[in-house]
């Protein structure tokens, strides 16, 4: 890899200052995306700002209505968190589906969310639960966070410090893995808050998105039944050597169905 200067700041403001210093510095959390990108020479930052020493950015906290996960919490920690699993089982399940065990020991929620890979899993949970991205300077609602492929509302020097998920009445995540990469070919996160439903889809398009059609259908009847009559338009969905947009459109509905079934199985008795 090309050389760079390496910094490990011990406060958030130090980290922000380092990121603001030049436009060729990148934040490093788990490195599961940044390092492969640098190894393939698709990115060559002049400075790396390692967030590992920043205090208070790890851990899963559950209070009343929210699950708040520190940005540097690994996928393995979320998958193994009894607190997370009790509050939002689908979130824990999702974390356990990311990558492989070694990736999960390093990859973080902050890194995943800030990177906004169109096939990443966490964005589906963030958008599906209507989470709040907490940064060093503000809070950003999920609905305005993911703007385009690999693009978010974050400023170049802005650091995610936590993601706050409201606890739903029911939620489920179903992922259809691309066989080669094991990323989501299509991943659907479904959440019910009272009578309103949110459905977020990852893997199928240039960025995670919600489906109004599926949300309306499920709001009326939160079971897999109404999905039998739903179809998603392929236009705008991704086509590549693994799956064309028509197949992805079909999978969206299938995964939505499975996510709802999972949500119904996991939901606490009312």
């Amino acid at each position: 890899m090309k050389d760079f200067s390496y910094h490990r700041p011990s406060t958030v403001s130090e980290a922000v200052a380092l990121l603001a210093a030049g436009d060729e510095s990148r934040a490093l959390s788990g490195g599961m995306t940044l390092l492969p990108t640098m190894k393939q020479r698709l990115a060559s930052p002049k400075a790396i700002v390692d967030l590992a020493a920043l205090p208070g950015l790890t851990g899963v906290a559950v209070d009343g209505g929210n699950v708040t996960i520190g940005a540097m919490t690994t996928h393995a920690e979320v998958a193994g968190s009894a607190a997370a699993r009790t509050a939002i089982p689908a979130l824990s399940t999702l974390a356990g589906l990311i990558g492989d065990p070694q990736v999960r020991h390093r990859g973080t929620i902050g890194g995943s969310v800030a990177n906004a890979d169109p096939a990443a899993d966490y964005p589906a949970a963030v958008l599906g639960l209507g989470a709040t991205i907490v940064t060093d300077r503000r809070e950003i609602a999920a609905d305005v966070f993911f703007t385009a492929m690999f693009q978010t509302a974050l400023a170049p020097d802005e650091i995610v410090v936590a993601v706050r998920f409201p606890i739903p009445d029911a939620a489920g995540y179903a992922k259809f893995k691309s066989q080669a990469s094991r990323f989501a070919l299509v991943g659907v996160f479904v959440a019910r808050f009272g009578n309103s439903v949110r459905v977020a889809i990852t893997g199928a398009g240039p960025a995670v998105f919600r489906s109004q059609d599926i949300e309306d259908a499920l709001a009326a009847n939160f079971t897999s039944q109404p999905l039998a009559r739903i179809s998603i338009a392929p236009s705008g969905l991704t086509s590549d050597i693994h799956a064309d947009s028509e197949y992805r459109a079909h999978l969206v509905v299938v995964m939505a169905r499975r996510a709802v079934e999972q949500a119904l199985r996991d939901q606490k008795p009312s």
Binding site: A180, H242, Y247
Partner: protein, 796 residues
């Protein structure tokens, strides 16, 4: 038979220790004093003229030692890469054989074609410099698919070969086959693709080369399956280095599968450059780079027809195949879709008339050559798919139609209509066994159970034979091989009775250090821990042809037995002298030379001691020492075969295909080590399942860019893609190898693609599906199911 350490024992592997403790010695692990690192710059275009290369800026960058281009090699008289197997056209004329320079000079013919070699202190510095090389390419239209390559007006990969055709080869008999078709009650047809694969052994290719100016001597460590052949091809044909000035070492190699059995440009250039800069140079392929520079496998487009009588007996087989050679001829490229394919089209059947035409075609893609199975998976896939199609169309049970046409055990040796004469086998026994073990007749109940869960279950059967144990020189030279493919072994008995075997094959996972020791142990009644097997170093080992084509045991093992027999014969002479008996009265048994009918004997150790100590030794008539060598050229291929059954379950919602079970019954002749054989079958089947369900090397049809050049897009099977497999051996003895072994390295990969696809088609047959091309990915399967559902809706 020595049940503990000899033939038939599932002896644990002697070689394991270094691998499980991280002490293996792979090429990338090697460090030489003052070593520099080499990196290749490769063409980003599939087809382009090189107008100019400017290395000025790059050469001045930090750490750069030297930069070489194809022009430098050419100016130094470096030769081109030779093709070691020429095939002839049907009209007897030789195939087209365009030259292939070690590094592109005027033109690049595939993405990945090397254009410069940058040597620097570190890999990163070399890459930086490579990025700074300016190349003026004149991009040309590229031709990618074989069908596009033969269209009139298609871009020509070689200016002097406008139709992109390397050869038009044929085997069998057109006239008798045409007559058979005229008499047919039914003709079954199939059009199919055999998908292009990338072998991807887990260890990427690498080379370390060192020129010793003091001795005027080169050493190259390389990830090769055949170091002696590299030495002669590279030394003699390319770099003009005398054989005694060149040492090739293939140390621990992390898997081959054919990918590492060719002479590669990188080996040549690294060796040549090490003298130019007078420093050792290491080059290690990156994985993505390997996709663009390792030879690929398969890539056929075929049409075939099977003529049957009203009872389902095969009358004739017609096959037309177009095979991709890639942008250049690889070392054995032309041989794979011809002799190792067409000659296998009789399969295990008595089909009396066969005619096969194969057109080899150049395209702007990576060269194609042998990959585990090399031609035989392609032949088996086509034949067994066609048999299933015929069975379906004629409503004959798929096992019954095979048995009806099978060569009976009493008919061996069996002369096929396509040159090969199978020496031994019993296909019906394998078929009976697999039907029993896989519970073929109980399938309907399992299918119902799957149906209750909303899944489509299918069962697939494949019966096959293959030709391996490469190779009988008499036969292959008549088929275009440019050299004999014999094998050699030296058995060196040390003064203490321990043994070192020097064998010309190469062990890169097959367990030779254990199985060859078992053979010697069986013959001499010596414990295997006293027997060391040495391979891979051309300074240590006499000339051998390496490991590929499932030859190590059949050919190498037989050479080893012959050398061991010479040891025993010498021992008999010595013992006769020591025991004052006639040679004919000496019997060697259980490690002892005894005078027949008496209790007088000498141990092997006594005899060896005499051979070195010369006390009580017939010095007047016998040379001292106890070391014997044998070179062995086989008289025929060996013909392993078998019958496999797989069951799959398809989720119609998503199209996913789950492999539920796999049963393999294989006749690999005598089994030296059942544990090793099972391991070879597991791995071979996994690769065939990979071809059937997961793997596909994809090119953009217009630009020639590879779209699957990493593990992110080329799907390697993982542990959760495979079930436990049931492996059964059903041996008949090979008539011409020692102990009747046949070899087992490739049979798994040969039998499995057809087995799995037959199961997939079976699962979808209710939709009127008669064929599915590989890989049967979820996307492909869903589309088939969806299309047929749409058709149904349209007719309602």
């Amino acid at each position: 038979m020595n049940a503990h350490t000899g033939i038939g024992a599932s002896l644990l592997r002697k070689e394991d220790r270094r691998f499980i403790t991280g002490k293996g010695n792979y090429v990338a692990d090697i460090k030489r004093p003052d070593m520099a690192m080499g990196v290749f710059l490769r063409s980003p275009h599939a087809h382009a003229n090189i107008k100019a290369i400017d290395i000025k800026v790059a050469a001045a960058m930090p750490g750069v030692v030297a930069i070489f281009t194809g022009a430098d090699l050419q100016a130094d008289g470096v030769g081109g890469l030779p093709c070691a197997w020429g095939v002839s056209n049907a009209d007897g004329t030789p195939m087209k054989e365009p030259p292939r320079s070690a590094m592109a000079v005027d033109k690049v013919r595939c993405v990945g074609d090397a254009v410069a070699f940058v040597i620097a202190e570190t890999v990163d510095q070399a890459r930086e410099a490579a990025d700074a090389i300016l190349i003026d390419y004149e991009v040309l239209p590229a031709v990618v698919g074989v069908l596009d390559a033969i269209r009139p007006g298609a871009a020509a990969v070689f200016d002097d070969i406008p139709d992109n055709t390397c050869f038009d080869w044929e085997c069998g008999d057109a006239k008798t086959t045409a007559a058979a078709f005229r008499n047919a009650a039914h003709i079954a047809k199939i059009s199919l693709v055999n998908n292009r694969l990338v072998g991807n052994p887990m260890e990427p290719r690498a080379a370390v080369a060192e020129y010793d100016a003091g001795r005027d001597h080169y050493t190259m460590w390389t990830t090769s399956q055949f170091p002696h052949v590299v030495k002669v091809l590279m030394g003699n044909f390319v770099l003009k280095i005398p054989q005694h000035k060149l040492r090739i070492v293939a140390p621990d190699v992390g898997g081959g599968f054919g990918v590492k059995q060719f002479l590669y440009a990188e080996e040549i250039i690294t060796t040549w450059a090490s003298r130019k800069v007078n420093r050792p140079i290491k080059w290690v392929n990156e994985r993505s780079e390997g996709f663009l520079s390792d030879a690929h496998g398969r890539d056929h487009v075929s049409e075939a027809e099977l003529a049957l009588d009203e009872t389902g007996r095969f009358l004739g087989l017609k096959v037309r195949t177009i095979a991709n050679m890639g942008g250049y001829l690889s070392t054995f490229g032309p041989n794979i879709p011809t002799n190792l394919y067409g000659l296998l089209l009789a399969g295990v059947y008595t089909t009396p008339a066969i005619h096969c035409e194969v057109k080899g075609v150049f395209t702007n893609t990576v060269p194609v050559d042998a990959y585990r199975g090399a031609g035989r998976p392609e032949a088996t896939f086509l034949l067994e798919r066609l048999v299933d199609v015929a069975a379906s169309e004629m409503k004959i049970d798929k096992a019954a139609i095979r048995r009806l046409n099978m060569i009976d055990a009493s008919q061996f040796p069996y002369q096929t209509p396509v040159i090969l004469k199978y020496d031994s086998g019993d296909p019906k026994a394998c078929l009976d066994k697999v039907l029993e073990v896989a519970d073929w007749t109980g399938f309907a109940k399992r299918k119902q159970e799957s149906q209750a869960r909303g899944k489509l279950r299918g069962i697939g059967l494949c019966t096959y034979v293959e030709a391996c144990g490469l190779a009988p020189s008499r036969i292959v030279q008549s088929l275009g091989a440019r050299a004999g493919i014999f094998e050699s072994a030296t058995v060196r008995v040390h003064v203490t009775g321990d043994i070192t075997v020097l064998i010309g094959t190469h062990n890169h996972g097959q367990g030779h250090e254990t199985t060859f020791a078992q053979i010697v142990s069986e013959k001499l009644s010596i414990p295997t821990d006293k027997i060391e097997i040495v391979f891979g170093d051309t300074d240590k080992v006499q000339f051998g042809l390496g490991t590929y084509g499932s030859r190590s045991l059949a050919v190498g093992g037989t050479a080893l037995v012959k050398a061991t027999d010479k040891i025993i014969a010498k021992g008999v002479k010595i013992a006769a002298h020591m025991l004052e008996a006639g040679e004919n009265d000496i019997v060697f048994e259980n490690g002892s030379f005894a005078v027949q009918g008496t209790d007088r004997s000498k141990s092997f150790g006594d005899v060896v001691g005499a051979a070195y100590g010369l006390v009580n030794f017939p010095v007047d008539v016998l040379e001292p020492g106890m070391e014997e060598k044998a070179f062995y050229d086989p008289v025929n291929f060996t013909y392993p075969g078998g019958a496999h059954i797989a069951e799959v379950e398809i989720d119609p919602d998503c199209g996913t295909v789950e492999l539920l079970s796999y049963v393999a019954v294989d006749d690999v002749g005598t089994v030296i080590n059942p544990m090793i054989v099972a391991g070879q079958l597991h791995g071979g089947i996994a690769q065939g399942v990979g071809q059937a369900l997961y793997e596909n090397c994809v090119y953009d049809e217009t630009s020639g860019q590879m779209l699957s050049a990493s593990f992110m897009d080329y799907c390697m099977p993982r542990a959760d893609n495979l079930p436990n497999m049931k492996i059964v051996t059903q041996p008949t003895l090979c008539t011409h190898t020692s102990f009747g072994v046949k070899g087992c390295g490739e049979v798994g990969t040969i039998g499995s693609p057809a087995t799995v696809v037959n199961a997939v088609v079976d699962a979808l047959s209710h939709l009127g599906v008669s064929h599915v091309d590989m890989p049967a990915t979820p996307s492909r399967i869903w589309r088939i199911i969806n299309n047929s559902a749409n058709q149904l809706r349209a007719t309602e």
